[in-house]
């Protein structure tokens, strides 16, 4: 058995994994937090993306909006990461061979790479373009990528239960 699959099987068979999976309350509760956490993580980032695309709040400099959004998005990330990891843990062995889960994992990697590139390049010079209604094309590209990736992540996340 490949090592990754072995790892997933170990998580699945563990005390914690089994407890979450078989509990009447734990899995639905953690899943509810995960679903509602989407608003905190994706909803706020979407607003920043729409700002950079020049579609909303054009009078407000981009940095003011990012200053509002980043703490919320990071909090959302913490909520989603913890709840998501617990959900994964409970179903790890099944998730290993689940195509929807594999796609979601790949998309999550990409949606993390996108802001990494964004922040180390065009955003470094944000003070040059923060008051513009529509941001430079590199920022807009990052915004579109962000919106597209998050949409696909939500779709693939929902489809996990169907495979």
């Amino acid at each position: 058995m490949p090592i990754l699959q072995h790892l997933c099987q170990m998580l699945y068979d563990s005390h914690l994994g089994t407890a979450i999976r078989e509990s009447d309350y734990a899995f639905p509760l953690i899943e509810s937090i995960h679903v509602l956490g989407i608003t905190l993580l994706v909803g706020t980032i979407a607003l920043l993306d729409l700002r950079m695309l020049g579609l909303i709040l054009k009078n407000i400099p981009v940095t003011r909006i990012s200053r509002a959004v980043f703490p919320l998005a990071w909090s959302g990330f913490a909520v989603m990461f913890v709840s998501g990891f617990l959900l994964f843990w409970a179903e790890a062995a099944k998730n290993y061979s689940n195509p929807a889960f594999r796609i979601k994992s790949l998309l999550l990697l990409l949606v993390g790479l996108n802001p990494l590139i964004f922040h180390t390049t065009i955003y470094r010079r944000v003070h040059e373009w923060e008051v513009q209604a529509a941001s430079p094309w590199r920022a807009r590209a990052a915004a579109i990528a962000s919106l597209a990736l998050w949409n696909c992540i939500i779709v693939s996340g929902r489809l996990i239960a169907y495979f």
Partner: protein
């Protein structure tokens, strides 16, 4: 037409039959519901945090409202439409579900509150700092919308 009759006719409608037979229908419509939820939630969060004086304190609350209200209402409409489509698949189950009834009550309250007290609070705040009134409005708004979300989640569980 009584509510019961409306629910019955929805579940027997062509839309209802379509949703009841499609294998992937419900899941795909639900993802639309979730994506719209993200946008609705983000808008509500930012508007109410402004009312609380936590974010965007130097910006005008009316300016923020002007743009985010379009986003809020647009995503709300999308959620209601996708909600009706999902409802057509299991109308009678929802009709008798306490979670669903609670969700509808809280949704009506949230929307009503949004167009009345909430609107007034945003107009009054303008570029100013938050008052006790605006803070209370924000807390009520956040609670109502969170309630809608929690009740909606409970539909599948209770």
């Amino acid at each position: 037409m009584t509510p019961l009759q409306w629910f019955l006719s929805l579940s027997h409608s062509p839309l209802g039959h379509l949703m009841q037979t499609l294998k992937w229908g419900f899941a795909l419509v639900e993802t639309v519901h979730l994506i719209a939820l993200a946008v609705l939630g983000g808008s509500v969060l930012l508007i109410d945090l402004r009312l609380l004086g936590v974010v965007l304190r130097r910006e005008s609350a009316t300016d923020i409202r002007r743009d985010l209200s379009k986003l809020l209402l647009g995503s709300l409409v999308l959620m209601i439409l996708s909600g009706i489509v999902m409802l057509s698949e299991e109308a009678m189950k929802c009709y008798y579900s306490p979670a669903f009834r609670w969700k509808m009550i809280l949704l009506a309250a949230a929307v009503l509150f949004y167009f009345t007290f909430h609107r007034r609070a945003l107009m009054r705040t303008g570029t100013g700092s938050p008052t006790l009134w605006s803070r209370a409005t924000a807390v009520v708004s956040l609670t109502l919308w969170l309630g809608v979300g929690v009740a909606g989640r409970a539909i599948g569980l209770i």
